[in-house]
Symmetry: D2
Subunit: 401 residues, 4 copies
């Protein structure tokens, strides 16, 4: 049997991979198929149309690449930029750091704008750089919409405003891994040139599809981008899009059916309702943290994330112990603090196909764990605070009214 | 898509059918097989051996009948009794009532001992009847171990003591539908002659197997039992047991594999640990009910059930509204009040493959619903009371230490 | 791992349980649900409507009982008849024999009309009995539409004609276990009073639902039928039909979703196309048997079954060896010869969700096995004969044209 | 329902993605999990150990990259070579062509050795080139073990012998996509430096893991390889191997469990038995092709592939029609002819978790299709030829003896 078996459900509250809804698990429960039969292209066509909706784009071109978020990053960069290109990139946590590491290893000239972890991207510095860059040496702005390590959401609308204000032609590349399909994301409205996410995040699928969406401007940029690329080359996809067969190499049949089911569920709930639900879950979590007398790693309300909350623990507690204990005693999976905030924060992921009572079970668990590790929490306090808000705000389930 | 779709997991807290663990769902995810090949008898043999363990019997003979609990009842009665036989039967709630209805329709002479709903079987009356029955006209005592409608657990050890005290040879037939594999049940020690349960209860499987276990004395009784029976006839099974093919008609292949997986999980956790876990879940639920200022339908502690709690609501509230609202707003499934307690109680089933954080999520939900329907509950109070107990009592998960 | 593992697919050609289509396996891959929520009654309502279509009845009342075919038999008999009632029943093979055994044990006065195994029901004798029965002592005619042990299909239209001819009011009870949803079955047109099947047969589900359909006349008969019944009592169902909750006891959630999916597939293919497909599979199998120089157990073409073919082997071969070898060497599951034809026939089940290439793989396997056991078959001969017919008769797949 | 529904099983005989065994589908039927919990590293550790066995290496280092075969190729090249490096690469069909295309786009100096499609790699030319290359300008030999487009298996032992003969230090990079785990592949014995396969081929999983195995020499080469790489960088893996957490980014939880189950099945059968089974399936297919009077695209017996057979059709037939018809009429999936052999060949994939009766069903189907499209095949002839061989050579299933 299972080497790490525990009774009951695992309470999965890491910020990815997240809970897969039963209908999606069912849809993927299947044998392989010939991906060259008419069935797969027919389905792929609907997926490419529908996946644009979660980016809120009508003009973008999506690519569903058999890879992870890291591969999606690489695809965004290598298809649009050339080695040596100057890019402005914001370092605000572990995932923006890893992206910057990738940018540097891909030989770009990375102009790093660093913030303290727990703060958002410093857009004042961006403004200065744009203002100073009269000759448009900056080829791209790279920014994570939501930094998963610290629970910080950046303001993309402001980034666009700044670019427009300075009439700057830099491409806007956005990591939407822990935001798209959970937070309000508006590719067209914000003039995002490349946006990307991974299937295992708010789409609530297994890992395996990096979804990248490119603006017309980004597609144009591929023509001059000299970065070496083959597996990640969008042109290989575009060639097969034209042929109507769609796939330059073998896709995962199961993930395609899973994505179809996942999108169907999202549209059934309504994307805006999905976003609203994440807003409720985020708010409820923050109210609990406050009731526990703990601090959010995120320093200002404007950056609060509705998909992940990083909770600062007092100095006398090692946050890793909280995560270990959650798993060892309560069958609860929480996110570790990473790198600079290792030992200092633990993370509650509240994204994907998740409802309020699941979250409250998690919060009740966190309270017990806090007590386990010596923090003087009042049991029930966080749940009470979260419930008081939720009881006023949860809508009736439309299909059941 | 799903006509009643709601995001996130359904929180299933009816007292059956209960949550199926993922490894069991996986084990059942399969095509049919020839049940006459060597594979199925080989597995059946291990199931018949292992299923005895959950009845705590070494001398009993189990039958795994493709039916529900109602069919298992009928099997227990018709194999051991003849029309006109006098049986003493305890009416303490909806399920004992239904069994009695069956007993009467099967033409037995049913001597009904009724208690107020919320009380246990009146064993004083049993004592009187046994004392008076010098000629042994009573052929069987029929009793539910745990009345699912009211959350009342009867004391079977006392029943056995009374039978022994009066040297009475009546058969002891026990409905263990919502007890076996969750509450402490001791077939051999308590001299139970027929015990039965259904797969969809504490075994945490789909509905479809009525498991009936017969003592040697019960098997002996089949020889004189004149009740007409074919589908439910144990002798048809015994004939095939001897042949080593085990099945008089086609079993569900999927449920056999599911039962194998379910038993493996129970043995991996340890049956006594399973029972202990139910004790924790029951206790935690009752502490929450108390904190909410509500009454348990069960009137005395000696009858408290660790598998289901029926909660009395104030007269100005219709408990059915609580159940409806749970489903319509919170994706939470609670048990209705049935028959005499309809509108007066709602039920929290806490049996099967379930852990503490799942229960706390449910309790948090119940608090919000109570507020929804106008009961002045202090949000977080029940969760706090339950957590305080659980935080002191949950063991580390053995496989993860 | 699997104790009897073999690479590749198991080739399942027993006449039940049969292959489950992938979409149905997927539909059943789910947790339990509260069967008292609005979702389950809503689905049940559509199932009760749609299941009538496979019986070709508009006036019948269906019951989906958590049981096997044996239980469905018992339900048909006990709801419509009283102990001592005279019934005419045809013994033509193992399954009609078992039904007759049940009829006798249920205390009916069974007037057995026996045929040689391999022949159909002797309807001449029926005519004589009906003619002689001026006082209508015969209360019911019990007949299997398709005897699974010998591959004999009885002519139900003729039975109806005889009853009409003699103006005889006897009920017509039909075991359609290996016919309904595969052979042409016309409940209303043939005036069948009770028809029944099991989920694991042509519906291509797991075992677990006995589907019984009763005519108005049969429902009327329940009022006077004195056979003792509780679990199988249709009135308990009718009571819950009126309430709109449908279930007197807990159904299998998984099987309900599975049945929904199975019916959807059948209607997508078209019931008449399903029947046509079985006709092709039956014909192809018989052509192969002929090409091998073997005899069909069924003695006349009028009785040939399109769901199962029982193949007679020469006296120097034990047909059980064929079945064993099929499983041990080729991962092929064939049906044993039962009772009188044990050792003399092996059976190829060709019913349910099955296509022509699956059958040809089976036939190719049988050829090799025949050679293994010393029968001088010309390898490829059966496949050639079957293919020649099929290549002329398989239609294009409508969804793929 | 399914837009392209057809009754019965789909007969999947494309050379990838291939049939997934039921136990593997079951193992993958699960929710996501935290990949940073102890469970996933513990399982990953066993996978990395066990996966080496299918490469027949004890000294190699495996990488399980969330990508396809195309990505695995890129990983092999970029980790070991620098732009401008001279490599000798053999063009013998569509997949070697695509690899060469990748090599060129990755800026290597590709010395292409072309053969007619249907022939193996020209090793005489290799010998010449090695002989001439005194200064060791050739940095790597790139060769597909089995060209999936033409069904040609190259002789790797000879390649190694040549390298040794000339004392040439070039790296030996091998595409084993349609060979590893099906054909005899000996990484250590043949001194292969990088070998790779994809999960959707002989491992019989969904697409999604590119498995790459590197020799010590290949790992050494990473230190000087200047090709830009991040997502595919082995060093990122090695860093996490040292940490014992194994994953530089999120793996697919489902594929890890699936790979565990797939390896368990392969080891239960025995890798050499798996290879033997493929040998039987390949031989049987070729005998059928011969019996049909058709030619194998592969020109010499020494190159015959046991995983895929490309069948040449007469000039008056368009092989694409065969593939279309297979799908539209018989629910059979065959491989198209690609590029130079488009319209001229159709392919029968006979790799992965497949047994003999499945293949015979496919061959029977191909016969009917050949007749459909006007080729004068004798129905049954191919099946007869294949069966005659198989009936003499299929072993008993060990677990069932």
């Amino acid at each position: 049997m299972d080497n790490f078996y525990a009774p009951g459900k695992n309470h999965l509250f890491v910020p990815g991979p997240v809970n897969i809804p039963e209908p999606v698990i069912r849809a993927m429960n299947r044998n392989n198929e010939d991906y060259r039969s008419p069935a797969i292209p027919a389905m792929t066509k609907t997926l490419l149309e529908d996946v644009k909706k979660i980016f809120k784009t009508t003009t973008g071109t999506p690519f569903m690449i058999p890879t992870t978020g890291t591969g999606a990053w690489e695809s965004a960069l290598t298809n649009t930029l050339s080695p040596g290109d100057r890019i402005v990139s914001f370092l605000i946590g572990q995932f923006s750091l890893l992206w910057i590491d990738q940018q540097q290893r891909l030989k770009f000239n990375v102009d790093v704008v660093e913030s303290e972890w727990g703060q958002g991207a410093n857009l004042d510095v961006l403004a200065e750089k744009l203002a100073a860059d009269r000759t448009h040496t900056i080829k791209a702005i790279c920014i994570v919409h939501n930094e998963t390590a610290t629970g910080v959401t950046n303001n993309l609308a402001t980034v666009r405003k700044l670019l427009d204000h300075y009439g700057h032609p830099a491409l806007l590349l956005v990591d939407g891994v822990s935001s798209i399909c959970a937070l309000d994301f508006r590719m067209d409205e914000w003039g995002v040139d490349v946006a990307l996410t991974g299937s295992q995040k708010a789409l609530s699928l297994p890992t395996g599809i990096g979804i990248v969406c490119a603006s017309q401007k980004a597609l144009e940029a591929t023509k001059t981008a000299k970065s070496v690329r083959v597996f990640f080359d969008w042109n290989d996809y575009l060639k097969f899009y034209k042929l109507g067969t769609f796939w330059p190499y073998t896709p995962s049949i199961q993930l395609l059916y899973g994505l179809r089911a996942a999108l169907d569920l999202i549209f059934e709930e309504g994307l805006d309702n999905v976003i609203e639900r994440h807003s409720r879950l985020g708010k409820a979590t923050r109210l609990a943290v406050e009731a526990w007398g703990l601090k959010n790693c995120t320093q200002k309300e404007e950056w609060f994330s509705d998909t992940v909350t990083a909770v600062l623990v007092p100095p006398y507690i090692d946050s890793s112990e909280i995560v270990k204990r959650a798993w060892k005693r309560y069958n609860l999976s929480l996110g570790l603090g990473l790198n600079k905030v290792a030992g200092k924060v633990f993370r509650i992921g509240h994204l994907g196909n998740l409802n309020e009572l699941q979250l409250l079970g998690c919060l009740a668990g966190v309270e017990m764990i806090l007590k386990d590790v010596g923090y003087p929490v009042k049991l029930g306090s966080g749940v009470a605070a979260a419930s008081a808000y939720l009881q006023n705000n949860i809508p009736m389930i439309p299909s059941r009214i």
